[in-house]
C-alpha cells in the first residue's frame, strides 16, 4: 500500500486535508469569488450575517466580512507556510549538524539556539517587527527567528540517537560521506517528528501573525484574520460575528493542520506498511 493510500485511509487526516484544501481554494479564488476588494465599504457597519445579502455580515467600517475572511486567508496561510518553511529549513540544518557532529560544533550551535530560546519569544518578535517596520516580510522573518530553535532541538535529539544506531555506523563503514549519511540514512528516519512539528508550527505561525496584527504590528496594507479580530475588538460585545468568524477560521485551519500532521506521522511509519 502506497504512502498516499495510507494517509487517505485515516478519516481525521482525510478531513483535515479536505478542510485545508477548501481554505486554500477560497484564498486563491478570492478575486474570482468576489468582485470587490476587502477594504471597500459595502453598506452599514455591523450588519449581522445574512442581512442585505452579506453572507457574513459587515464589520465596524461597513466592509463585507466574507470578502475579508477570504482575503485574510491568503495572508494568514502565506505567513504560516512561508515562516514554517524557513524555520524548518534553518532548524533542520542546525539540528542535523549539531546532532551529527556532536562535540564543540554541537555545543556552539546549541548555545546559539538557547540564546534565542531564553528570550521571551513574543517580546523579541514585537521588537523585531517594530524595528524592521511592520510588513509581510518582517512578520515572516520575525516568526522564523523565534520558531526555528524548536525544530533545531527536536532534530538534534533525533540525530543524536539515530547516529549511534548500527545502520548509521554501517553507512560510515561502507565509506559513505557525511552529507550522504545525513541526507539518505538519518534524515528519512527523523522525518516523522519534523513533519509533525512543522504542521504545528504552521498553526502557531498563523496564531502569532494574528496576535501581531491584533496589536497593530501587522502589515497595515493587508487584511489578515488577526487584524480583523484586532480591528473589531471594540465591537466584540455588540456584533459577535466580527471577532468570532475570523477566530473560528483560525481555529479550523489550525485544527485541520494538526489532523494532517497526525495523519502524516502515522503514514510515514514504515511499520504500518503492509
Amino acid at each position: 500500500m502506497g504512502f498516499t493510500r495510507r494517509f487517505l485511509c485515516r478519516p481525521t487526516a482525510m478531513f483535515g486535508l479536505a478542510v485545508f484544501l477548501f481554505i486554500v481554494a477560497i484564498a486563491l479564488g478570492a478575486p474570482l469569488l468576489f468582485s470587490r476588494g476587502p477594504f471597500s465599504i459595502v453598506g452599514m457597519p455591523l450588519l449581522p450575517p445574512g442581512a442585505s445579502g452579506l453572507l457574513a455580515g459587515s464589520d465596524v467600517l461597513g466592509r463585507d466580512m466574507a470578502v475579508g475572511l477570504a482575503y485574510g486567508a491568503r495572508i494568514s496561510l502565506l505567513v504560516g507556510i512561508a515562516s514554517t518553511v524557513c524555520a524548518a529549513g534553518i532548524g533542520v540544518l542546525m539540528g542535523a549538524v549539531a546532532g551529527y557532529y556532536g562535540g564543540w560544533v554541537d555545543d556552539l550551535l546549541m548555545r546559539v539556539t538557547e540564546f534565542f530560546q531564553i528570550i521571551p519569544s513574543f517580546v523579541l518578535l514585537m521588537v523585531l517587527v517594530a524595528f524592521l517596520q511592520p510588513s509581510l516580510a518582517s512578520t515572516v522573518i520575525g516568526i522564523t527567528l523565534v520558531t526555528w530553535p524548536q525544530v533545531a532541538r527536536v532534530v538534534r535529539g533525533e540525530f543524536l540517537s539515530l547516529r549511534a544506531r548500527e545502520f548509521v555506523q554501517a553507512a560510515r563503514v561502507l565509506g559513505m560521506g557525511d552529507a550522504a549519511i545525513i541526507a539518505t540514512q538519518i534524515l528519512p528516519n527523523a522525518l516523522p517528528p519534523i513533519v509533525v512539528i512543522s504542521s504545528m508550527i504552521v498553526g502557531n505561525a498563523i496564531l502569532t501573525e494574528s496576535a501581531l496584527s491584533f496589536l497593530g504590528l501587522g502589515d497595515p496594507n493587508l487584511l489578515s484574520w488577526g487584524s480583523m479580530i484586532g480591528g473589531s475588538r471594540s465591537a466584540m460585545w455588540v456584533a459577535w460575528w466580527t471577532t468570532v468568524l475570523p477566530g473560528a477560521c483560525i481555529m479550523i485551519t489550525v485544527l485541520a493542520l494538526n489532523f494532517i500532521g497526525d495523519g502524516l506521522n502515522d503514514a510515514l511509519n514504515p511499520r504500518a506498511r503492509r
Partner: protein
C-alpha cells in the same frame, strides 16, 4: 502431589498476532523441591506459560482453557485480589533485565525492605534488618544497604532481585532467563546461587531458558517448547541423553560444543597488523575534571588472509572497542593499525574513505543494523554507490549476493521489518560483502539469535570466509561459539590481551587463570 500442576493450559493471543494461541494444551508438573526448566526458542510460548502461573499475562492475552493447580488451588479461577496476595508470598519471579526491574532512585536496602513491608506487618528497622540478612545470604554482605542500583554490577543487581523475590520465602521461584544478560562467569555464579538457595530453602524453581547448557547444569526435569506446545518433557538426563523428538535433537545439536576446533591456518599471510593500540575514553564536560577510562591498553595482534581470529572476553573487556578502532568507527589514541602496508589508525577521514571498502563489518543487533526506511536493495547498493560503482551493475550484483547469503533475490524491494533476526543478519552480511572486502569484522553477529538460527548463520559466515578467502575478526562473549568458528583466539580482559593462541591449544590447555575461569563457566560443559 506436585506443587504446581499445569493441565491443558491454552493461552490466546489478541487478533492480529502471528498466531492465534500462545500456548496450546500445555501440561507440566513442578514437583516440590524440584528445578524444572522450560527450554525453547523465542516465540515458543515459554515466557507466556511462566507469566500465566503468576497471573501476569500482558493485556489482550488471556488463559482461555485448562487449569493451573498450585497446591491444589486453581490459580486461573482465583480473584485478582487473591492472586495479588499470592504473588511474592507463594510465587515469586525474577527477570532477565535486573536494571529495568529495580527502581533507580531508591537504595537497594529500601527496595528489599519495602517488598517485605508490603506483605508483613513489621517495623521499618526490622524490615531493614531482614533485608540485610537476605542480601548477605545472596553474597552481597559487603554492599551497603544505601547503594543505588547503578552502583552495582549486573550480577549484583540480579542478586538484589533474587533477594527481593525470596524475602517472603515463596514456595515457587520463577526465573525468566535470569542470566541471559550476564557475562558467562557471572552467569555461572548466579546459577550456582539459585541452586544453592533452592536446596537450602527447599523451594521449587521454574527456570525459563533458551540454553541447553543451563538446562544440563540446573534442571531435574525439562520441558521443550515449540510454537506454543510442549514437544517433549521428562527427566533431564533422559531428554538430553536420549531425545525422542526431532526438534529436541535439532536444538541439542545446534548448541555450540566448544569442541569443533578448526586447525590454525598453516602460514599466516597478514592483512591486518595491530600494534600497541591504545584507546582512552574521556568523561565529563567543558569545565569538569576529565578522568579517563582505558578501554584498550597496548593491544597487538595479527590477522591473516583466510583465517578467523576470535576475540573473546566479557563485557567491558574492550573487544568491541578494538573492533571499532580497527574499522575506524573510533579514533585510537596511540598505536598502529596496518592494512597491509598502510597505517590507517590516524588517517584523516577523507583519505580513509577509499580504503574503507577493504574492511567491512557485520553488526550485533539485527534490528538496528538495517535502515528501517530503506529497502533491502537500496541498503545493498549504498556501499557500491558510495564508491562510484554503476547503479545498474550494483543492482545486478545485489541479487547475486542475496542468493549467496541464502535469500531470494525477490526480497530486494522489501523493507527490513518484514524479516526475522536471522534473515536480517544475512542481509547485513550481504551488504558488507557487496564491497568485496578483504577483511570482515563480525561484532557478536549471532548473540541476538536463537540457537538453531545461530548455527545456520555461523555456518554461512564460515562458508563465505572460505569462498572469498576473507580475513575474519570474530568478536564474541561466547566461548562455545568461538571454538566453533575460529582458527585462533585472543582472550581480552580490562582492555588487555590476556592470552592468544590457536583455538585448539587455548581450549585444551589454557595458560592464564582467567581463560580457565571462562572455560569453567561454560554452562553444561560436562553434560553436553
Amino acid at each position: 502431589m506436585p506443587l504446581v500442576s499445569i493441565q491443558n493450559l491454552t493461552v490466546s493471543l489478541p487478533s492480529g498476532a502471528d498466531r492465534a494461541l500462545a500456548t496450546e494444551g500445555v501440561s507440566l508438573d513442578i514437583g516440590r523441591k524440584e528445578i524444572v526448566c522450560i527450554v525453547g526458542e523465542s516465540g515458543s510460548g515459554k515466557s507466556i506459560t511462566a507469566h500465566a502461573i503468576m497471573g501476569l499475562l500482558p493485556r489482550g492475552v488471556a488463559a482461555t482453557g485448562g487449569n493451573i493447580f498450585f497446591d491444589g488451588v486453581d490459580l486461573l479461577r482465583q480473584p485478582a485480589d487473591a492472586m495479588r496476595r499470592r504473588r511474592g508470598r507463594d510465587i515469586a519471579m525474577i527477570f532477565q533485565d535486573p536494571m529495568a526491574a529495580l527502581n533507580p532512585v531508591l537504595a537497594i536496602g529500601k527496595q528489599v525492605s519495602e517488598q517485605i513491608r508490603a506483605h508483613q506487618r513489621v517495623s521499618e528497622t526490622q524490615a531493614l534488618k531482614q533485608a540485610a540478612r537476605l542480601l548477605g545470604e545472596m553474597g552481597l554482605g559487603e554492599i551497603s544497604l544505601k547503594a543505588y542500583p547503578h552502583q552495582l554490577s549486573g550480577g549484583q543487581r540480579q542478586r538484589v532481585m533474587i533477594a527481593m523475590a525470596l524475602s517472603l520465602s515463596p514456595r515457587l521461584l520463577i526465573a525468566d532467563e535470569p542470566t541471559t544478560a550476564l557475562d558467562v562467569t557471572t552467569q555461572a555464579q548466579i546459577l550456582k546461587l539459585i541452586k544453592h538457595i533452592q536446596t537450602m530453602r527447599e523451594m521449587s524453581v521454574l527456570l525459563i531458558t533458551h540454553d541447553f547448557g543451563v538446562v544440563a547444569d540446573m534442571a531435574d526435569s525439562v520441558a521443550v517448547m515449540r510454537h506454543g506446545k510442549i514437544v517433549e518433557s521428562g527427566a533431564t538426563a533422559q531428554v538430553l541423553g536420549n531425545p525422542s523428538h526431532a526438534y529436541t535433537r535439532a536444538l541439542i545439536a545446534a548448541v555450540p560444543r566448544g569442541a569443533s576446533q578448526l586447525p590454525p591456518v598453516s602460514q599466516i599471510r597478514p592483512v591486518i597488523q595491530v600494534k600497541n593500540l591504545t584507546k582512552r575514553f574521556r568523561r565529563g564536560g567543558l569545565f569538569s575534571s576529565t578522568p579517563t577510562t582505558t578501554a584498550l591498553d597496548d593491544v597487538s595482534l595479527t590477522l591473516g588472509r583466510g583465517e578467523t581470529l576470535g576475540v573473546v572476553g566479557e563485557s567491558g573487556s574492550g573487544k568491541s572497542t578494538l573492533a571499532r578502532c580497527i574499522i575506524r568507527l573510533l579514533d585510537p589514541d596511540a598505536g598502529e593499525v596496518r592494512l597491509e602496508d598502510v597505517d590507517i589508525a590516524h588517517m584523516r577521514s577523507a583519505a580513509l574513505r577509499p580504503l574503507r571498502r577493504r574492511i567491512q563489518m557485520v553488526f550485533q543487533d539485527p534490528f538496528s543494523s538495517l535502515n528501517p526506511r530503506q529497502t533491502v536493495g537500496d541498503s545493498l547498493i549504498a556501499g557500491p554507490r558510495a564508491h562510484g560503482e554503476d547503479v545498474r551493475e550494483a543492482r545486478r550484483r545485489a541479487a547475486d549476493m542475496l542468493d549467496l547469503v541464502g535469500l531470494s533475490p525477490q526480497v530486494l524491494q522489501r523493507l527490513p521489518h518484514e524479516f526475522s533476526g536471522g534473515q536480517r543478519q544475512r542481509i547485513g552480511l550481504a551488504r558488507a560483502l557487496m564491497l568485496r572486502p578483504e577483511v570482515l569484522i563480525a561484532d557478536e553477529p549471532v548473540s541476538a539469535l536463537d540457537v538453531t538460527v545461530q548455527a545456520q548463520v555461523l555456518k554461512l559466515l564460515d562458508d563465505v570466509r572460505r569462498q572469498m578467502n576473507l580475513a575474519m575478526l570474530f568478536i564474541t562473549h561466547d566461548m562455545r561459539v568461538a571454538a566453533q568458528i575460529c582458527h585462533r583466539v585472543v582472550v581480552m580482559r580490562h582492555g588487555r590481551i590476556v592470552e592468544q593462541g590457536s583455538t585448539r591449544d587455548i581450549f585444551a590447555a589454557p595458560a592464564s587463570d582467567y581463560t580457565k575461569a571462562l572455560l569453567a563457566a561454560i554452562p553444561g560443559r560436562q553434560a553436553l
